[in-house]
Symmetry: C2
Subunit: 212 residues, 2 copies
């Protein structure tokens, strides 16, 4: 039985691939694992049936036999641990790839989420115009450090891993802001991620849902 993930019935981004189901679809495509998708409306996400799967009323979730998981990072890690292709065999390299997964969601994504919040939830506030450059500078601090670490390598630590999958996914949220172009090596890194056949399949699958 293939696993079942949940995704937005209609993603707020209209199919740009920024909803977090894309990250899980991408992981499943990288390891060649077929999956099924159950679409959930905004309303249904806040109802008991979905809350039983996801305490914070979000997508994606992951169901496989009697296992039910929530939280994108842990779903991607679960897939990566059980199938070849997303984590190195060497134990130390494997632990470092997992460090990059956590760095993506706990160090790089928080200032990016703050930017998204400022732009969307606080767009009508009188302070937002003056505040946005401060938030953007906090994003730049992280991008500068990340670019220094990446150097001229293709991926963060050796071969492509679940750490890169998560980091590229997090950085994709910045595409529309233009700030990635200030860091050409990061823009190229994201483009390498997007060029992967598995990413393309994941992207097209979510786009098909949102443009149907």
């Amino acid at each position: 039985m293939p696993p079942t993930i949940t995704a937005f019935d209609r993603s707020p981004d209209g199919g740009k691939g920024l909803a977090r189901d894309t990250r899980v679809r991408w992981a499943l495509e990288e390891v060649g694992r077929p999956y099924e998708v159950r679409l959930v409306s905004f309303q249904a996400m806040k109802e008991p049936a979905h809350l039983a799967l996801h305490p914070f009323g979000q997508i994606p979730t992951y169901e496989e036999g009697d296992l039910a998981l929530f939280e994108t990072g842990s779903i991607v890690l679960h897939i990566a641990e059980r199938h070849a292709g997303l984590l190195p065999d060497d134990a130390n390299a494997r632990a470092r790839a997992i460090s990059w997964m956590f760095a993506a969601v706990n160090t790089v994504e928080p200032p990016i989420l703050e930017l998204v919040t400022a732009r969307i939830l606080e767009s009508d506030k009188p302070w937002t115009k003056e505040r946005l450059p401060l938030v953007m500078d906090r994003v730049r601090d992280r991008l500068k450090q990340l670019a220094a670490c990446l150097g001229d390598a293709d991926w963060l630590d050796g071969a492509f891993s679940a750490g890169d999958l998560m980091m590229v996914s997090v950085l994709l949220r910045l595409r529309a802001s233009g700030v990635l172009d200030e860091y050409p090596s990061l823009a190229a890194y994201v483009a390498r991620g997007e060029a992967r056949p598995a990413y393309k399949r994941a992207f097209e699958a979510q786009r098909a849902v949102n443009t149907r």
Copy 2:
């Protein structure tokens, strides 16, 4: 050889236990693993020797033989995977505990970090007084969902796990704001975490550094 972690030479919180080395100390104490600590100054954290260990110039790091890790979540997971006491034996329960680790750092902590940023980095801004209640409401959204999920259980999913260790640590950042008291079950949950002997040892160890 015991592992070596890094911690602030002088923590910005003066020893309240909110610096992230406390999370790693707590994990090591839970599994009964002795460790050594190398203290790092703010200045040294931004220098090449430390950046080679931690790309974002932060603490903690973790060195054990030829393994060097950064990012608290991955260090705690690494410890939890290699020693009994922080992850269930059952594979499904283990995957769910890891979901809670990611939920702590990627769903619950981001609005809390936003609150900390508003209070510290934007304390002198003209908008902060009016904006803080909005940020606090986003924190409350998460706390309400978390309290609903915890119910009257002691821990998030069965026995105490690395998921609880991370969640309690994230919630501790809210202690000073008083907002935890609006959710008595969460305040009690945090207090249960703090009452664990391993937490107490970790807390005292970091306090000793910061009050020496």
